[in-house]
Symmetry: C2
Amino acid sequence: MVKAYAAKSETSGLAEHPIERRQLRDDDVAIEIDYCGVCHTDIHYVENDWGGTVYPVVPGHEIIGRVTEVGAKVTAYKPGDTVGVGCLVDSCRDCSACHDGLEQYCLNGMVPTYNGEDLHDGSVTYGGYSEGIVVSDRFVVKVPESLDPAKAAPLLCAGITTYSPLRHYGVKKGDKVGVIGMGGLGHMGVKFAKALGAEVTIFTRSESKVKEAKKQGADHVVISTDEQQMQDVAESFDFMLDTVPVKHDLNPYLNCLKYDGTHIIVGLLESVEPPLEAGALVLKRRVIAGSLIGGLPETQEMLDFCGEHGIHCDVEMLDIENINEAYERMKKGDVKYRFVIDMNSLKKK
Amino acid sequence: MVKAYAAKSETSGLAEHPIERRQLRDDDVAIEIDYCGVCHTDIHYVENDWGGTVYPVVPGHEIIGRVTEVGAKVTAYKPGDTVGVGCLVDSCRDCSACHDGLEQYCLNGMVPTYNGEDLHDGSVTYGGYSEGIVVSDRFVVKVPESLDPAKAAPLLCAGITTYSPLRHYGVKKGDKVGVIGMGGLGHMGVKFAKALGAEVTIFTRSESKVKEAKKQGADHVVISTDEQQMQDVAESFDFMLDTVPVKHDLNPYLNCLKYDGTHIIVGLLESVEPPLEAGALVLKRRVIAGSLIGGLPETQEMLDFCGEHGIHCDVEMLDIENINEAYERMKKGDVKYRFVIDMNSLKKK
């Protein structure tokens, strides 16, 4: 048994709750968790917003820790290594997606880090709000020494979610990239696009965020509610990285893309309303694409890229006992830009 | 002056009306028109469905004819050559799109073959329902000798509109391609996808069209209104070529795409309703793309491809005096698959 924080019902909030940790299989890595980022998805699962939450649920899929033990056949990791675990902990490993290192699109369904079902024994998976976790080596990544482990935790979700599409679509030096939304995902998108050599514009609805956007490294800021400003940047972007997780009008942003430009959705899972104008795609050969986190090889590449370029997430540290208040603040958008739980606060309890 | 068929108002229908043909400029090619395909767009302009029609309007942008005269600096064409003219007759020639041979996306606006404004003298452009046309050599294409000129006419619009995205997105041997819609565009999409080596499925709403779909060369037919059939092909296509020109639900088709699959819209210029489900894009890295006709180099490539592969449009020949009845039949979808006007019927009058 290990200590963890779990929600026992939709309305209970999170509280300490011991969980069973599985015995190591041959390919398993046992990790003592040092830091765990807090993703908005955690709240959705705790409160069963999407249905299907199995209680008790232990959230957390931005995990950084140290290896304590490895299974008999593990060669890539040894005790003491600083490692990470992201949004998924298993997949079929045998479909075309898995063969391509795109385990997040596994044709047989990937196993999420929490609230998933283990493929071997059918047990429920528990996430990173815990002292420790056991994960198959294929789903573990190495954390470069140059990275601050606390600030690296959110890279496993917010980082890879924005890095993956920018790389997949080949964002390069000189490209003009717009980033829509200034939350955990958006601020990482800015860092990656800048590091890839792009000229970056943040789109924000509020004049009050201009200063903060510039501080984040944006070359330009456009107030998306200002029609004149939007008109001034019509047909000028190669890519839009759209991190907004709630319903919003895509049409004004499509108009900002050049012909052949690509609007990348990483935050929205709902319906596109008001409706999309198909003419904006047809008349300029524009593209709307979706992207989901990233595969394991790409996640490792992303961490290495962050190590080389000194890229971290901007975080606010948190003790585990304050997690419920943190959720309330996140619901108001009151965090710059990601909460990270210091897991020593759980171990010390 | 040359003979032509023009509409003088939104409700007048088409009737004979002489038009001025410009004196040849140095880069111009004078063409005696033999055949002109009838596109649904012609009806929209004649009836001013999209606003902006300048009357009298002479429609027609699927033009095949023979060169009768060339300007002083024209070297690529000589009298007697069989040539084609498609949807555009000029562009700025100096922007990135024009430099890339994507004149249809000209940043300064391409000049449509009819109802456009000539960049030199501001005159209105007149289309192919006419004895002759004068077009700058850059916007003229050669018709391979192996092609039947009458059946080649619709390639200049229906052909290139479907060929261009299939090539742009790299459709290749073994790919699974779905074609939605069985009209002028759809039936050309089937021919091109087959010629590129793809396994082609036609999606149709009606059981009554299955036989015709198979006759068109489709390997499979799916009745899109049959939920079980749609479920059976879930996540199995690399590409969907969506030629439907009226509002329709994209979501059931998105579900038919594999991860990384691409839904290509070539027919729809309206809003996407019912609304698109963004989750279908994000969770499988799917793409929705638009595409508009094609550039001039690509149009030449398409004609050469048709020459090599013996690809023609299926046409129903028409004398010009029957054009108004033909429009009425097209509005009911009663044509397999494209009307082509034999321009001798105008010349003889």
